[in-house]
Structure formats: C-alpha cells, structure tokens
C-alpha cells in the first residue's frame, strides 16, 4: 500500500519538476518500503494547548549518554541553564526548556536518573548567549554545547548522542518523516524559514550538510536551501529516515562518524542565533485514532503529555496507548509521561490488550491491515485509513519467512542477515554486514511487517550498545 498523504496536483508536479531542473539534479528514487496509513492524521491547523506546570528532561531521550545532574531540587533555573551534563563530556549540556525551580530529580533502580523536572514559573526567562563570535567549527560546536543544542545531535555509528570531540564526515538532516501519523515538517516550517536557513548555515561551519527533502515537499526554503546539499527522495516510507538517506548519499564506513539532527532542531539553532536565547518550542502533531481533533500544537520540549492531550481524547472504555513520537518509532509512555526531547508528535491509539479476536489465523478480519494478501486490505482503496491497536497479533518465532525485511528496508544491506548476526552476537559479521550504518528506527517497518514478530528495534539497539562498548 503506497499512499500519498497529499495528492500531488498537476500544478504541484510541474512546480516540482521545475525546481529539480533549476536547482538540483539529485533525485533518488526508492522502491522498497511501505506507507502505513493510520487513522487520525493531524490536520494542518495549530491549536493552543494548556501550558504545563512542570517540564521534564529525560536522560533516556539522549541515547548512549550517562547523565551527571548539576542541579539540586529547589534550584532556580532559566531556560538554557544546564540540568545535567554528559559525564564523559561535561561540556555537552542538557538544558532546562523553561524557567522555574527544579522540582524533582527522579531516580529509578540503582539510582539511575529517570528525569529532571522543573516547575515552570511562567516567566519564560532565558539565558542570553553571545552568538556573534561563531567563525569556525570549534566555536560553532562550543556555542551549541553551551546552549544545550549540541545535545540534539545524534551520531552514526551506534545512533547515540554525538561526541563534540569527533570530526564528523558530514551532517545529515532529513526534512521529512513518512512514519505513520508523523509531523509534516513543511507545515511546521511556515514562518520559520529564516531560522531554519540560519541553522543550516551554522551547521555548515561544522561539516558538510546534507538536507534530505521529500518529493512531495515544495517549500523553497527546503528545495533551495543554502549551505547544504539538497537531495530529493522519492519513495515510500522509510525514505524520510535519515539513515536511509545517508546510505544512499554517502554510506558510512568503519571508522567514520556522521552527525544527524532533526529538522525542527535546526530551527532551534536559528532561533538561538537570532535572539541569543534558547527556545525549545516545537509544533508537534497530536494525532491518532483515539484523538478527538487531531491537529498541531505549539509546545515546549519536555511538556507533560496529559496537558497536550487534555480534553482532546475520544471517550473510550477500553485502554488507550499514549506514545511520545509516532506509533512505529515512538515510545509508549504513561499518562504522567513527558514529551521526549527528539519527538515531533504525540499519538494515541487503542492499546488492544482487552481485545480478544477468535480464530484470527483463519478469519477474514476485514478491518486489519496487512501487506499479506491473506488479509483483504489489498481490496481497499489505497487511501483507506486503518485503526490499528498495539497488539503484536501473533507469537514470537524464529525467522521463518525470507525477504520480509528487505521489502521495507531500502538500504544496500541484508537486513535479515544483519539481525541474525546481532542475535548471534557475532561482532565481526555485524561490522561486515553494515551495522555502522543503521539505527533501530530503520528497522521499525521491518518489525511492523515481520510475521515472526521479532522485536527488531530492541535487538538492533542492544546490538549497537554491545558493539559500542566493545569498540570503546
């Protein structure tokens, strides 16, 4: 099922074609993949939601980093003041998104820091930084570290928070996500084009910047972005995954490091350069089949999700699943949970754990979505939207079918063999098969279609963690 989110009119098509001819030649066509069309897409309209009383920064949002908390409960902080730093690189700061007082440093088993919570004072005071002196890569990195925006860099290999001592080969930014219910960045970009460009220009001082744009996007700020090499991707999800884009533009070899950053986070940098202040306000998609009016909302990173969803959920006597992020790569959160630092949407779908379907292995199950023609979703129009719940819908098995992953894995990598090498713990083979190029999110669609129901993202995450430890 390949579904175009917006039907591209002829005029748009013409416009796109012109853009390609005038501004660039790089169009990469991808055939493998799958667009999952879920019900409850956010309509292009921004509403105001209740400001949260508390905001929290979760160390777990920044994979691979060991936090050292630098505030105490009761400390007064401004937006941009560090809440915790990376133990290995104390210059990398993770800053408070709002001004207020530190309300709680939440710890879990073995005193692991789960979150640092700040009670907002509503004044929105922010630390002011001098942004004028940025001349070279070093000063750019220093500024970003100081402002707490370096924390938003992730690096490949390992898909972890970047290390400021590295010299990245390039910086990759994907201007679109085609995961189900994902934020439409082109909509978010409206009115923030200058900030986006300023952010790109700063990144270009650090390393060569590659911007991945979707064929469905037409904003000049994307297609004619300066200080970045623009590549257009034409194909189904996961074409928007930065990992897929890296694999097609400039694959990572052993020993190389590239950095990636979310497109909206580039806007954060632009804002910083314009105002000298850290402003982590995002326009997130509030979406999903359990959301009453799926729309966009302006919220600050770390907001309490219950405030974002307040009054906007469909009444239901069944369980609901709240997800920070989209249903494929996002994280299931509790009703007291927070918007993760990297997440660009909050989605709510039925949990389904109170759902019992009889004889599922043989019933037609017309409402289900499947890439297999043993179900009947192939009969429905391509635009049909599905209400899927969080059930795994089968038991975990060994890998039985072949080629399932490769169908939705548009990289020059044998996904099934790589997963097997990770399960077997064979590090040499993982390296040979290209583990340095992948992130768990690249396996999200493979996990979705997998008839053996293996937890591929978890397997890949654990594989990357072990590999990183070995190579340190």
């Amino acid at each position: 099922m390949c579904v175009c989110e917006k039907s591209v009119t002829f005029a748009q098509f013409l416009q796109n074609t012109i853009f390609y001819f005038i501004y660039m030649a790089n169009v990469i066509k991808l055939r493998k993949g799958l667009d999952v069309n879920l019900k409850g897409k956010a309509s292009l309209e921004t509403v105001t939601v209740k400001a949260s009383e508390k905001y929290a920064l979760l160390p777990d949002s920044f994979t691979g980093m060991k936090p050292k908390v630098v505030v105490k409960e009761g400390d007064a902080v401004k937006a941009g003041d560090a809440l915790f730093v990376d133990k290995a690189h104390p210059e990398v700061k993770f800053v408070s998104p709002v001004s207020g007082t530190v309300a709680l440093v939440e710890r879990g088993d073995r005193r692991k820091v789960l979150s640092v919570q700040v009670a907002a004072d509503g004044k929105n005071e922010a630390v002011t930084l001098d942004t004028k002196g940025v001349k070279d890569a070093k000063s750019a990195v220093d500024l970003l570290c100081e402002a707490g925006l370096f924390a938003f860099f992730r690096q490949r290999p390992y898909d972890v928070t970047a290390n400021p001592d590295d010299q990245p080969k390039a910086i990759f930014v994907s201007a679109f996500s085609d995961m189900p219910l994902a934020q439409d960045f082109e909509y978010v970009l409206k009115g923030q084009e200058a900030d986006f460009q300023a952010g790109l220009s700063l990144l270009a001082k650090i390393a060569k910047v590659h911007l991945g744009v979707s064929v469905k996007q037409s904003a000049p700020a994307l297609l004619t972005a300066k200080d970045a090499e623009v590549t257009v991707f034409d194909g189904p999800a996961p074409a928007g995954n930065v990992g897929v884009q890296i694999n097609h533009i400039s694959p990572i070899n052993k020993g190389e490091v590239v950095w990636t950053m979310g497109a909206e986070e580039v806007i954060f940098i632009g804002r910083l350069l314009r105002t000298g202040k850290v402003d982590l306000t995002r326009t997130i998609a509030v979406a999903g089949s359990e959301v009453k009016a799926p729309k966009y909302a302006k919220v600050i990173v770390g907001a309490q999700v219950s405030d974002i969803l307040a009054g906007n959920l469909l009444p239901s006597d069944k369980h609901q699943r709240w997800i920070s992020g989209n249903p494929l790569t996002g994280i299931k959160i509790k009703q007291t949970g927070w918007l993760g630092a990297h997440h660009t949407e909050v989605t709510v779908i039925p949990e389904g754990d109170d759902e019992y379907e009889m004889l599922g292995w043989i019933m037609p199950r017309f409402k289900e979505f499947s890439t297999s023609r043993s179900y009947f979703s192939w009969l429905r129009p391509k635009k049909a939207e599905y209400t899927l719940d969080a059930r795994i819908k089968g038991g975990e098995r060994h890998m039985i079918m072949s080629g399932e992953y490769d169908r939705v894995f548009p990289m020059d990598i044998y996904a099934g063999y790589l997963v097997k090498a990770i399960i077997a713990g064979d590090i040499d083979r993982q390296e040979a098969l290209g583990i340095y190029e992948v992130a768990p999110e690249d396996f999200a669609l493979a996990e979705f279609v997998d008839s053996s129901k293996l937890e591929l993202q978890r397997i890949v995450r654990e594989g990357l963690d072990i590999l990183r430890k070995e190579n340190m």
Partner: protein, 394 residues
C-alpha cells in the same frame, strides 16, 4: 465467544507457574492462541502497531493450499483401487472418495499425533510457544508416501524427522532440511521395498469398512516414471490422465491441476516465492530438453517430452510445496533463482541418468537444502566485499 473466553480465563491459573497442570502449559498456550489472537501488546522500545500477519496464518494458508491435492489424492486412491480390481464401472465417485478418505485418514492422524506430540513436548521443555511449522509438514507427509506405507513405519519416520531434522537444530525456522522430505528420505532408504519395491505399493489392495474392492491377486502398477526406469518404451498412461492425476503415485503428488490450485493461492498471497517456483520449472524443462537433444535413443527417460517431465512424479508437488519452504530454501532473492534452477536440473538428471532411482525430486530438494546456505553465502559475501571495497578505496 465470551463463554469460551471465560472458560480459558478460568482454567488459565492451573497452567501458570505453580499451577497443578503446569506441565501442560504449552498445550494450553497452543489452544489459547489458536482460539484467540493473543492480546499481548508491544513493549516499550518496540513498534506500537503490527501487521496482522503471523506465522499461524501463513502456515494455515499453506495447509489450505494443500487441501485440493489432498482431496484429489483421496479420490485417486479409490480410483486406482477400483481400476486394479477391474471394478471401475461398479464404483461411484463418492464410494471411491470415501475409500480413499479412509485409506489416507489414519496416515494423517499418525503424522499429526506423532509430530505434534513431539512439538508440544519440546515446547514445554524449552518453555517456548508451540511453533506452527509442523502443521504443514504434518499434512505433506501423508501426501508424499505410497498409500500402502504401514503406519508404524510412518510413525518412526515422522519421529526421526521431527527430532533429528528439526528439533535438534532449534525448531521451526532453524532447520536445514525440509522435515517432510527427511521423513520420506528416511522411509525411502530404510524400507525401500515399501516405498517402491515391487510396485505393489502404489495401489490400495483391499477393501476398508466395506468400501472399495479387494484386488484379486497382488496387483502391480508402476508409476509412469517407474515404467520408464524399467525400460518401457513409453508410459501406459495418457498425458491427460497425468495432468488430471489419475495415475499411480504418492497420495498427493499426482494431480497437476489440484497442485496448481494450491500454487495459485501460495503465489497470490506471497507465501511462496514465485522466483523459486518458476526457476524449478525452468531448470527442469531446460535440462529435459538438453538430455533429449544429446543422449542416445536407448535412454527412454531422456526422450519423453520436457513437459511430461514436469507433470510426472513429484515434480509439481515438490516445486510448489517443498522447494518453496522459506526456511530451507535460499533466503536471498538472487539465490532463489539459482536454488530453484538447480533443483529442477538435479531432479531431471537423477531421473534420466540414474536408472536406480525413477524419481529425483526428493533427492534434488534435499541436496539443494544443503547447498542453499552456500548460495546465500555467495550473495551475502558480494554485499560484504562491496562494503569492504568502499572502505579501502576511500
């Protein structure tokens, strides 16, 4: 539905850790997931939505695809019996079908009881869920043996295959050889006289529960390939019968039409790889043509038309249901072409060049099962060396 759900919920505690029926947990799990789609939901860190396909549905589909061939096989058992007894004009359609049904049913039951019994035990022992793989093997096994195979032989062979070809490797998905074919190979090499022998094995010889006919004296009917291997100038059956399937042979393998129905379902749903299936036929056809053009006229097998090679014996059945077994076939897309082609090639080669073995499909698939990882290795290595080159050319 609710009553059944309540019943499952009520008895569930007995099977959990510490319950008095804990030793049968795998059995309970098996039945519960069979009756209801499991309502477990994805954990934190895994995807929140899933495709509705699972291995139960895939295996069920293969079983459904096998049903036409099985039903026709039952009918053909009755038909061959009536034909041998010279009573064809007195036999009715349903009479022949039910005769065949009664002849085949015990084999089906033995195959499932022995195989699933081992599966349940192993699942309980390893504390895993029951794997569905044997649902398919269990129905294939009675279909690829002669109708006169004794049940005790079948039971031993199934037990051998499930334990030594599958469970010791780690269960469904980890096996190297196709379980059903190992069962057949075990029978073939351990009890050759019951598998081909004097050609009395292919036709049921006596009445069952008043149905069917007692064949007067030991009636021998060779399969068409058997006739050719014994040096007959041509087969005694018509091409039409060979396609419809009214010829002696293993229970489920004779009818090309019934197998084609199953093939359509497997290809349409994408459960079987069309690449593998097509390349088996291409490999077989090209090899048959090659032998026809090059070998001396004394070799009868070499000079039957290429399409007859494809419709005779287990060629179609093997190509559609066994070569395409995703676990034991090549897993890379390019590898599937080579794997299939070589199966067709080897099957026809064995038929033509080895007078001892009238049929080569079983050996061809088993041999290629062994070589499939090697084929994949070459394709994966190419990918690896490309990555290596990128590193050195930097």
């Amino acid at each position: 539905m609710n009553a059944l759900r309540k019943y499952f919920d009520k008895i569930k505690p007995n099977f959990e850790e510490g319950g008095k029926l804990h030793a049968f947990r795998s059995l309970y799990d098996g039945f519960e997931t069979f009756a209801f789609v499991p309502s477990t939901t994805g954990r934190v860190g895994s995807v929140s939505v899933h495709d509705a396909i699972d291995s139960k549905r895939i295996m069920s589909l293969v079983v459904i695809a096998l049903v036409p061939a099985l039903l026709f096989g039952m009918y053909n058992v009755g038909y061959q019996n009536a034909l041998a007894a010279g009573q064809l004009e007195n036999a009715t359609f349903w009479g022949m079908f039910f005769y065949g049904f009664l002849a085949v049913l015990p084999k089906l039951i033995v195959s499932y009881v022995v195989g699933l019994g081992i599966e349940f035990t192993v699942a309980q022992w390893k504390n895993e869920e029951i794997q569905e793989g044997f649902l398919v093997s269990g129905i294939i096994i009675p279909m690829i043996v002669p109708v006169n195979t004794p049940l005790w032989m079948l039971a031993i062979a199934v037990a051998f295959a499930v334990i030594f070809a599958k469970e010791i490797f780690g269960g469904t998905g980890m096996n190297i050889l196709n379980v059903a074919l190992v069962t057949r190979a075990f029978l073939f090499f351990s009890y050759p006289s019951s598998m081909t022998g004097d050609d009395t094995v292919w036709v049921a010889q006596s009445a069952i529960c008043g149905l069917g006919f007692d064949v007067p004296e030991a009636f021998s009917a060779a399969t068409p390939l058997g006739e050719l291997a014994q040096g007959a100038a041509a087969t005694t059956t018509s091409l039409c019968d060979q396609i419809v399937g009214l010829i002696p042979g293993s229970i489920g393998e004779t009818s090309v039409i019934a197998i084609a129905l199953g093939a359509c379902l497997l290809l349409w749903t994408g459960v079987a790889s069309w690449k593998t299936m097509l390349s088996v036929f291409v490999g077989g056809a090209l090899t048959a043509m090659l032998f026809d053009a090059t070998l001396a006229p004394e070799n009868v097998g070499a000079h039957i038309p290429w399409y007859q090679h494809l419709v005779l014996g287990g060629f179609c059945f093997g190509a559609v249901f066994m070569a395409t077994d995703p676990v034991t076939s090549a897993r890379t897309e390019g590898g599937k072409w080579i794997y299939g082609f070589l199966i067709g090639f080897i099957a026809v080669t064995v038929r033509v060049l080895n007078p001892g073995y009238p049929e080569g499909m079983m050996l061809a698939i088993l041999l290629m099962n062994v070589f499939a990882p090697l084929i994949d290795y070459c394709f994966v290595s190419a990918n690896i060396s490309k990555r290596q080159k990128r590193l050195t050319n930097k």
